[in-house]
Symmetry: C2
Subunit: 306 residues, 2 copies
């Protein structure tokens, strides 16, 4: 089965409730908790063997990553993560020492970002370690930034560098919590998403939701050192890794040309840069270094395959 | 490791945040979302082989149970479940048809109780089916009922009958959503909990949090037909099953003597009855049919064992 077709089926069938401003299909859902307050909510499940490998990493890293992924979703709406509930299914016979390390990893980030773990569920089972974090966020008087607001003529900006996160970044990335809020507070952001599935795959989510197309510029794509390293092993180009690999957890946003200038000139967001523009029509194209523009296929990680 | 000792360790270490009215340790956490609105949150993880057995039940049943457990937690605070986010880890190679059945089961309850599934995460992994539901609730202007409010002299009331839920009720129970809200709206409830770990084990949670003791009356414990049936196979008495088996998902509450009379006379809650009283001191005792009072050990399901 495909993750996206399954989610589309759910979205169509799900009955809507008064008070839900934004349901399935964005980085967070948004509910209306009082006339002037919104509550954001996002949930992420990680399982050993798919999202991390306990043979190669520590329990601390897993706990940290679980929290970081959820913070990243709230940041991608330009809002602030506040409280979390955490469910963990430990493999049978897990020791308490091992279990505590998972929490130490979570607290390393929750303490930093003033997030409280306010509840949870701890079970054991015959499967691999599985951890689920549900994170709430608040709007702080700002408007949550959706995926659906991109407009033709917008400039596409990204934080950080891309590709090869499997070599380490997927475990130790810093969620762009501060950047997300600073962007929302100081500029008019049309659309924003965090890069979990892959640069082109997540850009494509924005394009679909906004009913627009985009042109990326080959020479502007920030390629990480890890993408270069990985390309030596895989035979793919570093650019391929930058465009397709998942779990960079950087922000991708679209803003008007004028706002793009302000963002870049402000110096508020370190390492932010332009990589292309939103255009009329649909689909994703690349302007290559030789000047030619060709259609490219969004590629990335789909969480379910049949 | 023991579930309760691990949770105690987490509770002690967790830094508190302004705006959290109730953190780890009750049926739901409660946060203060605006000056006059509270938001309740609870999370429950179920895994194949521990909480259900896909060899013996349908995907529909699993979906229904996952939602029902979370509604039950909100009901146990006397509040109304509103929206949920759902994470599912499907075993590799799950078909979409099978996956949809899980959702059909969830919707059978969410539609009934006007709950919207507003988001989620769908992954696949090498383990057994694992599902996590995070449910939000609202206070509807009422005070959430905690575990810690029981007072010496209170009467202990329960809905329904107990024991043997493994024979079927654990999959098809009706969460006491309406009963929880009706009780909170019409009466002064000192403490309330839903019976997931077992009658004595969950009563013990109230006793610990309220720093009180209790006496149960043997002749007043409502024993289910399933407990009688199960006792024929296990050799334990039906009373033992009623006191120790988990997953009845009935409500247990404590109220003053006067309020108990009003609750019982009101006819608002079908099948509600008294089973004992809260007393000074600590620990749990049973008044047997022969008139003797003896200390009993709270027994029930602890979700983790070393």
């Amino acid at each position: 089965m495909g993750e996206f077709s399954f989610i589309q089926w759910i979205r169509k069938r799900q009955r809507r409730r008064k008070g839900t401003l934004l349901g399935i299909g964005d980085d967070c859902a948004v509910i209306d908790v009082s006339p002037d307050k919104l509550c954001l909510i996002t949930t992420d499940m990680l399982v050993d063997g798919t999202h991390f490998d306990l043979k190669k990493c520590a329990m601390r890293d897993v706990g940290r990553k679980a929290i970081a992924c959820s913070i990243s979703d709230v940041a991608a709406m330009g809002c602030q993560a506040t409280v979390a509930v955490v469910s963990i299914c430990f493999p049978d016979h897990t020791t308490e020492k091992f279990a505590r390390e998972l929490y130490e990893g979570m607290w390393s980030l929750t303490d930093k970002y003033n997030i409280e773990i306010i509840g949870g569920d701890t079970i054991s089972g015959r499967g691999p370690l599985c951890i689920n974090v549900t994170m709430l966020g608040n709007d702080g008087g700002l408007k949550p930034i959706r995926r659906s607001g991109a407009k033709a003529g917008d400039v596409i900006l990204v934080t950080g560098e891309f590709g090869g996160s499997i070599l380490g970044k997927h475990l130790c990335f810093e969620p762009r919590q501060q950047e997300g809020v600073v962007l929302n507070k100081n500029f008019t952001i049309h659309a924003m998403i965090d890069i979990s599935d892959g640069l082109t795959a997540d850009l494509n989510h924005i394009l679909k939701e906004s009913r627009t197309g985009a042109i990326l510029h080959e020479c502007q794509i920030p390629i990480s050192q890890a993408a270069v390293e990985l390309s030596r092993k895989t035979g793919y180009t570093p650019l391929h890794h930058a465009l397709s690999d998942g779990e960079d957890y950087e922000l991708l946003l679209t803003v008007s040309k004028g706002q793009a200038k302000s963002v870049l000139a402000s110096g508020l967001i370190e390492g932010i840069r332009r990589i292309g523009e939103i255009v009329d029509g649909q689909g994703l194209r690349m302007k290559y270094a030789d000047g030619k523009i060709r259609r490219i296929r969004p590629r990335g990680y789909e969480h379910l395959t049949s």
